[in-house]
């Protein structure tokens, strides 16, 4: 008798699955960057509550993981939209096309600043990109001077980097290599500092790979500490250790101004206005990408896009700015707003 009951439950379960799989999807599936996640989720929630459509489901997979899922093919098994904290790569677009995803609409939504912060109780830091390179790169020119031959980074304290900086050990907590924030930090901050040495920049012409290894290589001797993907954790650790610096997104600085403060870079403090005007050097664009073939197949995609690109959301005073998104300049906003409305696909990258 019991076995019969178990068998019945089994069959019922199998039927339920078959029925579910046969159903068409009526909910937008979104994947992608964990940096865009806090913004996309707010839009999705407001969109779901303010319309008759279901609230889109958003997975935080990272930019690269999102592209992989997004470009895997067409159809309800694959996501409709992917978020990214960097632009789609040419190779990724090719992969998309090879899998039948012909038309991809690119929408840039704003900027995100990456801040270098320390505890409220610690002295203020005024650093330059060059300081960051000298403090964190794997190899630096000998004597920290132009023309020195490359040696393993000998700088132990910030004063070693520049006598004007405090004499405390270099200790920077930041995201691991899997994170988009880390990519952007390496590219914008460390490489930015590297470029201030003309001799190093010259390598780019000769050997691109060697240039990348020098200018984006982070030291592995314990001065840069991979503190995991959780930015809240970095903020907590900074509050406890006044000597450490941390690397994270602007919105976490904005929410924790009573515990940490941002270091000015090249004389520019990490403030909302400075990031918006691009005066602050370490900021990156945020995007989302839409599969054009899914529009009008999965209900609500068109409406979700227009909710995201409404002035109420991404405008200068939209609700996304309350969450720390730095809005686009007006001309860019008009351009991408039009692209979004016309669903103009990417030509090439």
């Amino acid at each position: 008798m019991h076995t019969r009951l178990v068998a019945a439950v089994f069959v019922a379960g199998a039927v339920a699955v078959a029925a579910g799989a046969a159903q068409a999807r009526d909910q937008i599936n979104i994947v992608g960057s964990s940096t865009v996640y806090p913004f996309a989720t707010v839009v999705a929630e407001n969109f779901g509550r303010g319309s008759d459509f279901k609230t889109p489901k958003i997975e935080s997979t990272g930019s690269g993981g999102g592209m992989k899922l997004f470009c895997a093919g067409l159809g309800t098994d694959h996501p409709d939209i992917t978020n990214a904290s960097r632009r789609m790569k040419g190779s990724e677009l090719e992969k998309c096309r090879a899998n039948g995803v012909q038309d991809v609409v690119e929408i840039k939504i704003g900027y995100d600043g990456i801040v270098i912060a320390n505890a409220k109780t610690a002295p203020e830091m005024h650093i330059t990109l060059r300081h960051l390179f000298l403090a964190l790169a794997k190899q630096v020119p000998e004597g920290n001077q132009e023309g020195g031959k490359l040696v393993d980074n000998p700088n132990r304290t910030w004063a070693d980097v520049d006598p004007a900086l405090p004499n405390v050990a270099i200790e920077v907590l930041g995201p691991p290599p899997t994170s988009g924030t880390r990519d952007a930090f390496n590219e914008l901050a460390v490489e930015g500092g590297c470029k201030t040495f003309p001799a190093l920049q010259a390598i780019k012409q000769e050997d691109k790979n060697r240039y990348k290894a020098i200018c984006r290589g982070i030291r592995e001797d314990g001065a840069y500490i991979e503190a995991g993907e959780n930015d809240n954790l970095i903020v907590q650790k900074l509050a406890e250790n006044p000597n450490a610096l941390g690397v994270f997104g602007f919105s976490f600085l904005d929410q924790n101004r009573d515990a940490v403060k941002g270091a000015s870079i090249d004389g520019v403090p990490p403030e909302f206005e400075n990031i918006a005007t691009r005066a602050y050097p370490v900021s990156r664009p945020l995007y989302f990408y839409v599969k054009k073939a899914h529009v009008d197949v999965i209900p609500g995609i068109r409406e979700y896009i227009s909710a995201f690109t409404s002035d109420d959301a991404w405008g200068d005073e939209g609700y996304l700015t309350d969450r720390g998104l730095i809005p686009l300049p007006t001309d860019e906003r008009t351009k991408f707003g039009d692209d979004a409305a016309n669903l103009a696909p990417l030509e090439s990258l």
Partner: protein, 422 residues
Amino acid sequence: MSSSVPTTISSQAAANRLLLRRKRAERRFQLYGILAISAAVGFLVVFLASIVSRGYMGFVQTEVRLTINFEQELVEAGSYRKILRTSLAELFPEAGSSRAERRALAGLVSAGTVFVLRETVEADPAIAGTVRDVWVLASDPVDQFHKGRIDASLPEEERPISDASLARIAALEQDGRIALRFNRSFFSRGDSRNPEEAGILGAIVGSALALVVTLVVSFPIGVMTAVYLEAFAPRNRITRLIEININNLAAVPSIVFGLLGLAVFLNVFGLPRSAPISGGLVLSLMTLPTIIISSRAAIRAVPPSFAEAAIGLGASRVQAIFHHVLPVAAPGTLTGAIIGMAQALGETAPLLMMGMVAFVVEVPGGFTDPSTVLPAQVYLWADSPERGFAEKTAAAIIVLLGFLLVMNGLAVYLRRKFEKQW
């Protein structure tokens, strides 16, 4: 007795010394044990204290009493934003009508208030055209300040709440318009990006649905495997190989099952991503070895005389097993199953691959609806920048621990109830 044994004084003293040393060694050993237990209890207390001290505030929420004029025309036009704005402006007439001031006023209450007002009217259309007092959720900064988590003595630019807002909160307090109330939405709603509105019901239902799938799949298969291996299978190389493999499977890291699930359930069978059915199947793969091993141990613990007596009286092997051995082994089998379920409840890694670590607002209604699970919800909230999510994270952990406690308690209860003495 001892006097009759001839002993020299020196050997007597040596024996005493030896005895003393042995007693000391025993006391020392007990001391190590007590130290070990106190260390374990100490860690547990520190862990629980830190979670509870952070999380208990998550179960209450600051609410604000607004006097709302549900004007007929505005309700019909759906202009709830305007209704809310008017009500706030009446409350604080000194605030100008500039955009910045209006935003500051709207920032006192939750961003979801507009939707709540609409839902209120939709639930009871008679409200249209009347003036009502409505308790609405305060915004996250107001909530955090009212709970004492924001230090008002800091300079204005260093705290997430302005001086003007502080004055308004003080005015609300004087009028008795602000209060800490039980956080109903925490238990009645799905996820939200506004910490004051975020609820855990979606994750609880998602976990429950996934566990139902896990139980339905892994319990019968696990028990049948155990019965066959213990009672019917011939002892040969193949069964030994299977045994070793099952024991090894129990030690495989759970993420491996996630990768397997992604490749097989999602890519080959085309099951829906982020759905409890797919998540539950992966968890059942993970739980199977636990159930098989504990069921086999339970069946083996039943004295063979039970089955022999039944067979001797003319029962078949199947009858002997199902009528006499399995009922006696049931407590052990059930305990194994519940422990396995409790493990599955706390698992995130394999579900990450199945897309169940996701922002899902709607409470799932079935096995194929997108959903998340309790530990995934904890992970997502812990990673959110808004202040209020810190206590929500801890509160969700308390709920998760509560469920684990109930499940383990159930295991103990079942064992006590069905355990037979022989």
